[in-house]
Every structure is written in structure tokens, then in C-alpha cells.
């Protein structure tokens, strides 16, 4: 018996696929193609002149130490923010899964940050962590100069990592909780009867069974940190101080939209796109092998 649904009429199949293909073409292939074209030319803001320059744009970008600085910062940001938010979310999900008191309310509460738009998160974090006037100002009164994201690049980077991690926790939490609740209770109870404590059960039973979820979230979090961090960076630090938080995607914005240098921005977009694809490929190729789906 054939379990697959197949279309004998391939025209019908094509017609049904067409709207989706059209969307993908208009919103992905077309702009990407345009960016690729611009990255090999010098495009004037208002159009009108468009000179072919070969790999000049790529050389300008790749030979610029500041570009590599932004790559470095982006990688640190993506790894730190993803790790932090995944760990926090996992912890919260395990707590809620143990049906502690008020877990129904907590469930909603933990998910809420994800419903906030990035600029709103950024604004809140900027206010809370402002060295002179924020809630954190008390720390600076005790230890003057300890916290100053306006001048200290490391503080600023820490701040946007915290903001990004915080805004992703809710999303990760829901997935982990769903994953945990789909684990058969009998397994955990058997473990408990064999004398495994809660931590041991998490480590030996729940975590391995959560591996597919964990892997999925890792891919999503890292990609999101690379491409979706604009709102937070723009509001919290505007890429400063001294470009210490100028993530790759923010540099695309400053060069392309502020500086109106479409070609330079297009070049960086192409590089970023290739990087994200390579990264996702690596994750699927090497990390996924350790994941067992059941």
C-alpha cells in the first residue's frame, strides 16, 4: 500500500505550488539577486550610474579590520546569547515541568518576553542599565565606574547579550516545556524507583530525550542572533562605544541605510547570507548526527 499522497496531474501540483514559489521568488531570490549584482558594482543612491567593479567591494570589506571586528563581536554575541537563553529556558522548563506551585501562572509569565518587540526590550534594558540614572546606578555609587556600557565596550556587549537572551528565553521555554511533557512519565518514575535523584534524571533521561528540541533551538537561536538583533543594538548602544557592539547586521544598516552606500551594504549582506548558510549546514552535518529522533 502506498502511504504517500501523490498527484497524477503534475499541472495541478504546479498550480498549487505556484503562489508559494512566487512568494519565495519575490521576497527571497529577487532581492538576493539584486544584492549580488550590487555587490559587484558601485551603485549610486538614486540610481543612474552603476559601474562594474569586480571584487573591489569584497576586497574593501574583507581587508577592513573593522569588518572582522564586527564578525568577532557577532560570533561572541550569537554564542553567548544563545547559550544563555537556552540554559535559562531549560532550567525554567524543568522547574515548571515539576509542577511547582503556581506553575500555570509561571508558564504564561515566562513566555511573555517573547511577545515584546525588540525595540521595546532594548528601551527597557537601556533604562534599567543606564550607568547614571538607571536602576543599576546604585551599584556604581558603591563601586564607582564598575558598570559603564556607554564607554566600556565589554559592558555594552554584555548588555546586548543579556537583552537578546532575555527576549529569546520565552520562545525556548515553550519548546522545552512541550518536549519535557511529551516524555513518558513511566520512564521518569522508573528512574526514580531505581534511586535516581531529580538532577540525575534530568541529565540521564530528560536531556537525551530532548536532544532534537535542543538542536532545533540551537539553530534557531544562533540564526536569530545573527540576523534579528538589529532592534536591540540600535536602541541600546547604536553600535558603540567605539564600535564594540557593531554586529554584522548593524554594520549593514549603518553603511547601507545611513551612509547610503548600497554596494558596500549589499556585499556584507551576501557575505552574511553565505555565512549563515554555512553555519546551518555545519550544524546539520555535524551536530545533528549526535541527535536521535524517535
Amino acid at each position: 500500500m502506498n502511504k504517500r499522497a501523490t498527484f497524477s496531474n503534475s499541472w495541478l501540483a504546479a498550480a498549487l505550488l505556484l503562489p508559494q514559489l512566487l512568494l519565495v521568488f519575490i521576497f527571497f531570490y529577487w532581492p538576493s539577486g539584486e544584492a549580488l549584482w550590487w555587490s559587484f558594482t558601485l551603485e549610486r543612491p538614486f540610481g543612474g550610474g552603476n559601474e562594474w567593479v569586480g571584487f573591489y567591494n569584497y576586497l574593501s570589506v574583507l581587508q577592513d579590520s573593522r569588518y572582522w571586528g564586527s564578525v568577532r563581536v557577532s560570533v561572541i554575541f550569537a554564542i553567548a546569547a544563545s547559550a544563555l537563553s537556552i540554559l535559562l529556558a531549560l532550567m525554567l522548563a524543568v522547574f515548571v515541568d515539576r509542577r511547582m506551585r503556581g506553575h500555570q501562572i509561571l508558564k504564561t509569565g515566562f513566555f511573555l518576553p517573547y511577545a515584546l518587540a525588540a525595540p521595546a526590550v532594548g528601551l527597557a534594558f537601556r533604562f534599567i542599565f543606564a550607568p547614571d540614572a538607571g536602576l543599576i546606578a546604585g551599584i556604581n555609587r558603591v563601586f564607582p565606574g564598575l558598570w559603564n556600557p556607554a564607554l566600556d565596550g565589554n559592558d555594552a556587549l554584555t548588555l546586548i547579550i543579556l537583552a537578546q537572551a532575555w527576549s529569546l528565553v520565552g520562545y525556548n521555554f515553550i519548546f522545552f516545556l512541550a518536549g519535557l511533557q511529551s516524555i513518558p512519565r513511566a520512564l521518569l518514575e522508573a528512574g526514580a524507583m531505581d534511586g535516581a535523584g531529580p538532577l540525575r534524571r534530568v541529565w540521564d533521561l530528560q536531556l537525551p530525550l530532548l536532544a532534537p528540541t535542543l538542536f532545533f533551538l540551537l539553530v534557531i537561536n544562533i540564526t536569530d542572533s545573527f540576523v534579528n538583533s538589529f532592534g536591540i543594538v540600535d536602541i541600546v548602544t547604536s553600535g558603540g562605544p567605539a564600535r564594540a557592539t557593531e554586529l554584522m547586521v548593524y554594520k549593514v544598516y549603518t553603511d547601507g541605510f545611513q551612509g547610503k552606500d548600497s554596494s558596500l551594504a549589499a556585499t556584507q549582506s551576501v557575505i552574511l547570507m553565505v555565512l549563515i548558510m554555512a553555519l546551518t549546514f555545519v550544524q546539520f552535518r555535524f551536530i545533528e548526527r549526535k541527535v536521535h529522533y524517535n
Partner: protein, 445 residues
């Protein structure tokens, strides 16, 4: 807040009234880049124009900031959907002049019988927006310049009743203030318009070669070889000695907020914030504005203009241009344009007759507006020279960002002042060469 609400209501009433006979009117689009209260002032001016006659109707659309207005205009022009008039900030001038998308203002005025006396504009304003040959390609709209804001009570504590004239004098005052227990005598941020461009103009120092870029796209910045470096060193020393402080959104309070709530005793900022401080200051803050400090009082030159101008774009119908001409006549009029703008915002009149009119009507003697004539004194402090005309550099915003980076670098101690400023200059020059190559074969008008 109440006046704004009333304003908004009257705005919508006017809009309703004009909608009634909107069908036979000639409509055109005007995009502006002002936001918040300033944006409301522009929208109200549009409504007033629509209510003042029955032939034309302007549709004003705020774009959410100057930068967005420029981006959106570029996108719209490429799609053939550009507005008839767009408000563009001063540093967008180069892109607009090279765009091929502009209907030059002087030509437009001639073609549509606009009676504009170009020589009436203050030279500091007209020269900024004009081409290298002195032709006006846009209509100056909202203008400002930089002045020195000072807290009189703080200066009274050190026994002085007048503001410092020079940076050296300010330094001495700040030392005395620190002695007197004032924590923040002077505040600044990383804004290149105030710290580099205005500073260079009033001291007649070059920012770039070829008359600060007016001479062509081949200009190179030279600010790393002028007393600007010493000026930045002074800022750094002041911060290290506890005389001055950096105030930005990131530290918790912007410059204006820190001055208006009495935290910091002085700053250099745009006159446009005069009304903002009046509206937001703590009770009893005793302050005034004066000319910004210079290096040498005998060598004080005019400061340069900031703000935005109105540009007419190519590719619209003759009817739309006729309507646009009526609108431009309205917003450049002494009463309907200049006085309206000056009264409702912190901006300055842009023509000498407009200024005289305001002055003679006792405008500057009203408590709310007192002191704002300082801006005119600053703009007209000397004849306009090639060094005080303005700055015309490609990708100006990237150069401003370099200044910000340099200041953050030396203030955080990652490099000394000279090194940081020199790197900013080198990177700015790379940006300029790239811009020049993008426009190869084009000539700056």
C-alpha cells in the same frame, strides 16, 4: 500637552473642512522628516495652507526622521513614486545635488513666478545650501545653529555674572566650579555637528580641503591636523579632572535632559532646543544662551547652519508643480512661514527681513523667546568665508560616525587623542574616495 491636543483637533477639523471640496483641488505630496512636537508643527502648517485657499491641497507625510525621509525618498524615486517636495537635512545636500532627481530651487522659482529674494537670506544660511557657484537648489526651511547654554546660578557660585567667551576661560571656570562643589560644570556628547563642524567654523579652521568640500568631490578631511585635536584633548582632560561629563542616552540622560534638570551647568547645543528646555526645565532653573566659546575672541567667525531645506523633485506634472509653487510661497512667507516656524519651534528666522519683523514686533522681549536672537548674532558674527560656509562632503554621516568612534575611543582610554582622531580622518578619507569613485564622471554643482 493641552495646546498640542487643541492643535491636533483644529488640524483634523481643518482637514475635514478641506476634504469637503477636495475633489476639484490639485493634490501633491510633501514628505518631511520631523517627528514628535516638531512634526505636529509641520502638519499644522500644511493644514493651515490647505485652509488658506481652495485650489491646491498638500498631503503631508512624516517619514519618521530625516534619515528615514532620505531613505524613503531614494526608494520612492527609484520606483517613480517620489513626492513633489521633500524636506532634507543639511548633510543630505551632496546626495541630492548629485542625484539628478532635483528640480533646482532657483530654476523652479523662475519657471513658476515665485517671488523669492534670494539675497534676503542670511549669508550663513544661503551659502550653506547653495552650489559652488552660489545658486540655490533648495528652499531653506527650518534652521538652527549652535549656541552655549549656561546655568547662571552655577556661575554665580564662582562669583561670575557672565558666560565664558573662550575655551580657556571656560576651563578656568570649570576648575573654580569643581572647587565650589559643582559636580558637572560642562557636558558634551559625540555629536560631530557641534564638536567638530561648529567648532571649526567659529574658529575659522578647515575641516577638509577644497573649501571644506564645496570645491569638488576630491576633497580630503584635515581635521586631524588642526586645533580640533587640542580641543578634543581638552575634552579628555576635563573628563579626567572631573570638570566635564559625557551625557548621552546610553549614560542615562541626554545633554538636553542633563541641562534642563540642572545636573550639568553648561553645554553647546542647537538653538532649536531653547524651547525644549523652556518646556521641560525644573522650576527655577536660571539659565541663558550666548555665543559658543572660541579659541581667540578676536578671531570669532560665523557659526554654520543646521536644520533642513525643502527640495522640489523631478518628474511631476505641471499642475503639481503649480500647486507646489503656491505651497512654497506660503511656507517661505514672512508671516505664514518664518514667524509661524519661529513661534512654534526653537528654529530661527532665515531671512534678514523676517528677523527684523520679529524683532520689531517685540518677539525677543517675551520671556519665552528671550535670548534666541543670539543664534542670529552667531550666524552673522563675521562675513562668510570659505572656511565658515559649511561642510560639503560625500557620505557625511559616515564621517560623523567616525568622530563619534574617535571620541569614544580616546575617552575610554583605548588610544590617545591624536591617534584616535587621525584614524578617524584616515577612515573618513577612505570613505570619501569610495564616494568619489561611485560618482566617477559626475561633477558637484
Amino acid at each position: 500637552m493641552k495646546p498640542y491636543i487643541l492643535g491636533a483637533i483644529s488640524c483634523s477639523l481643518l482637514a475635514l473642512a478641506s476634504a469637503a471640496n477636495a475633489n476639484d483641488r490639485i493634490k501633491f505630496d510633501f514628505w518631511h522628516g520631523l517627528t514628535g512636537q516638531l512634526g505636529e508643527v509641520v502638519e499644522r502648517q500644511c493644514a493651515l495652507f490647505n485652509g488658506s485657499q481652495t485650489e491646491y491641497e498638500v498631503t503631508c507625510t512624516g517619514q519618521g526622521g530625516y534619515d528615514m525621509a532620505e531613505q524613503n525618498t531614494i526608494a520612492a524615486f527609484r520606483a517613480g513614486e517620489q513626492p513633489t517636495i521633500v524636506q532634507m537635512y543639511e548633510i543630505g545636500t551632496v546626495n541630492f545635488m548629485l542625484s539628478g532627481a532635483i528640480y533646482p530651487a532657483n530654476q523652479f522659482a523662475k519657471d513658476h513666478g515665485l517671488d523669492i529674494d534670494w539675497s534676503a537670506y542670511f549669508p550663513g544660511i544661503a551659502n550653506y545650501y547653495a552650489t559652488s557657484t552660489g545658486e540655490m537648489w533648495s528652499f531653506p526651511y527650518n534652521s538652527s545653529t549652535a549656541v552655549f547654554y549656561w546655568n547662571k546660578d552655577a556661575w554665580a557660585k564662582i562669583g561670575k555674572d557672565h558666560a565664558p567667551q573662550t575655551w580657556d576661560e571656560l576651563g578656568a571656570d570649570l576648575a573654580a566650579m569643581k572647587e565650589a562643589g559643582i559636580e558637572c560644570g560642562f557636558a558634551f556628547d559625540y555629536d560631530a555637528w557641534m564638536n567638530l563642524e561648529q567648532f571649526s567654523a567659529v574658529n575659522a579652521l578647515p575641516v577638509a580641503t577644497m573649501d571644506n568640500g564645496y570645491g569638488g568631490l576630491g576633497a580630503e578631511v584635515t581635521f586631524h591636523e588642526t586645533p580640533f585635536v587640542d580641543h578634543m584633548q581638552r575634552y579628555k582632560d576635563w573628563v579626567d579632572q572631573g570638570f566635564a561629563r559625557v551625557q548621552t542616552q546610553q549614560t542615562g540622560k541626554s545633554l538636553v535632559q542633563a541641562f534642563a534638570d540642572g545636573t550639568c551647568a553648561s553645554m553647546v547645543h542647537t538653538i532649536g532646543n531653547h524651547s525644549v528646555i523652556k518646556d521641560t526645565q525644573v522650576d527655577g532653573l536660571n539659565w541663558d544662551v550666548t555665543l559658543m566659546p572660541v579659541i581667540d575672541v578676536d578671531n570669532r567667525h560665523n557659526s554654520i547652519v543646521g536644520g533642513a531645506a525643502l527640495w522640489v523633485l523631478q518628474g511631476k506634472s505641471p499642475e503639481e508643480y503649480k500647486a507646489a509653487a503656491a505651497f512654497l510661497a506660503y511656507v517661505t512667507g514672512a508671516e505664514t512661514g518664518e514667524r509661524y516656524m519661529v513661534e512654534n519651534t526653537g528654529y530661527i528666522p532665515v531671512t534678514l527681513p523676517g528677523f527684523e519683523l520679529l524683532k520689531n514686533s517685540g518677539f525677543y522681549e517675551q520671556d519665552r523667546f528671550r535670548g534666541r536672537e543670539v543664534a542670529i548674532a552667531s550666524l552673522t558674527a563675521s562675513d562668510v568665508t570659505p572656511l565658515t560656509r559649511g561642510i560639503r562632503l560625500g557620505n557625511h554621516i559616515a564621517i560623523r560616525n567616525e568622530i563619534r568612534t574617535a571620541m569614544e575611543t580616546f575617552l575610554s582610554g583605548k588610544a590617545d587623542v591624536k591617534t584616535a582622531v587621525t584614524e578617524a580622518a584616515e577612515r573618513s578619507n577612505q570613505t570619501l574616495r569610495r564616494f568619489e569613485q561611485t560618482y566617477r564622471g559626475a561633477e558637484l554643482p
